[in-house]
Amino acid sequence: MTYWDQKTETIERAALEALQLKRLQAIVRRVARKVPFYQRKLADCGVQPRDIRSLADLRRLPFTTNTDLRDTYPTGLLAIPSEDVLRLHTSSGTTGKPKALFFSRRDVDNAAELMARCLVMTGVTHRDVLQNMMTYGLFTGALVMHYGAEKVGCLVIPAGPGNSEKQLLLMQDFRTTVIHVTPSYALYLADFMEKKGVDPRRDLALRKAFVGAESYTEETRRKIEQALGIDVYNSYGLSEMNGPGIAFECEHKCGMHIWEDNFLIEIIDPRTGEPLPDGQTGELVLTALCREAMPLLRYRTRDITSIIPGPCSCGRTHRRLHRMTGRSDDMLIVRGVNIYPQQIERVLMSLPSVGRNYQIVLEGLDEMTINVELAEAGFDGHVEHLTRLQSEIVDRLRAEILTKPKVHLVPPGTLPVSEGKAKRVIDNRSL
């Protein structure tokens, strides 16, 4: 087992918490001095920096939202003199103004440092050749990976996305071992290689892929792994918090270690803002402990996940996040329970006899019915087996979403084909 920064990655929890508290106090003091936006917010909450005496006092601090970032655009959250800013990235939303994200020299270096931890955690060494197929530009994804891989000492090929002919040539000529790529482009490349008669196992030196920037399922991960004969590692990143490299899977692929010396993590109920215990699903809230140019307190990521309780066999003490199961905006409330459509999708897709399409129908006072297409190969002519599968789906869903839905299995191809998850939910409730 190798580490990039063994001392920090395997730090005792007590020492980690002491470090977190020290950094939290420092960052609150700093934003209270330098950022008028936070001066106002802290005053509204009636909190002064000296009130933060333990990590439990984190709850007294105000949240920062997506809207706050847009409202303060472009420089309202800057905590250093503008001449000390080294780099600007932006994050474009689907609507309205972008978010401006500033990096100081220390932020650029620190983001690369965290990325290096992530890379080494998956077994990357200075002998690796990393072909970076993400878009270089205002988007954080490509550059942070680039700097991190250089820090590890990899040969980095800044290929950018697209031009599959050229990508393949680079992979062949420079014996690329690692690619950084979006899931859809990874699948496209696999298909492209097949058409070109290139067998990645025989003709290429590929070993790993870091797949990100778009959400994807466990099934897609396996598909990419099989098609290219490589290991795919899940990762989590957020432009507002450096970009990629916040949380990454280790070689055990059992959840993503989040670097807790840099980020304070909370899981909250998105409805009430109340913190939830480890293991429960809710919205991820991050406080950046080390960001210099643009520190954010209790930033509501709107990403839905849970903290995996217990230690990991890799020896790292930083806790692990479950794969993101969706966005808080997609949340449904059924009989008082928060439910994310992605939780339902995850259960359905884990059953081989279940097909690709499903539909969540809410009706009456608060009834949830899930129509589930059977997989073509899942039909053997026996109604008893369909009945059994139907009850298995109900049981598994109840364990995941804590309420018992009605489930109807339907023949493959009989549900309307929907694009995007939004249309999978039909809410006809008469509330």
């Binding site: 002519g381 109604v383 008893e384 369909l386 493959p412």
Partner: protein, 142 residues
């Protein structure tokens, strides 16, 4: 050799669907000899005994239906009092767990179709008894 194939179709709300399925079979020139419907709430499976099983499967599949072949055993039952009892008794004595059964009479010959978990094992046991198992050809020429 003595197994009989039924064509099973997954159809919810089977009453409305039956006509559409039989239309597909009729258009393909498939003759239906026997039909049985198994339901559980909204789930429905319609099983047909047809003269051209592969053609039936192909035609249904092409029209977007989810179909599957189901192997059953066809046991001839003496068409007299106690005939069915002899068969049922034999199945029970040999601990053959029947998942589904249906029967029909054609030209004074009675046939019991049974679905079991392990068709090969059940066939082996039953042929050692005095029961007569019918092949696909035999059952279609009754």
């Amino acid at each position: 050799m003595s197994a009989v194939n039924l064509i099973a179709v997954f159809a919810e709300n089977q009453l409305g669907q039956m006509g559409r399925i039989t239309q597909v079979l009729a258009d393909a020139g498939v003759n239906i000899r026997w039909v049985t419907i198994a339901t559980n709430e909204r789930l429905g499976v319609i099983k047909f005994l047809v003269d051209k099983c592969d053609l039936a499967y192909e035609s249904l599949h092409q029209k977007g239906w989810t179909a599957s072949l189901v192997e059953v055993l066809a046991i001839e039952v003496e068409d007299k009092p106690g005939g069915l009892h002899t068969v049922a008794d034999c199945l029970a004595r040999n601990k053959i767990n029947v998942e589904n059964s249906s029967g029909f009479v054609s030209n004074n010959r009675a046939v019991l179709l049974i679905e079991v978990q392990d068709v090969a094992a059940a066939r082996q046991i039953l042929t050692k008894q005095t029961l007569r198992l019918l092949s696909q050809e035999e059952i279609l020429t009754l």
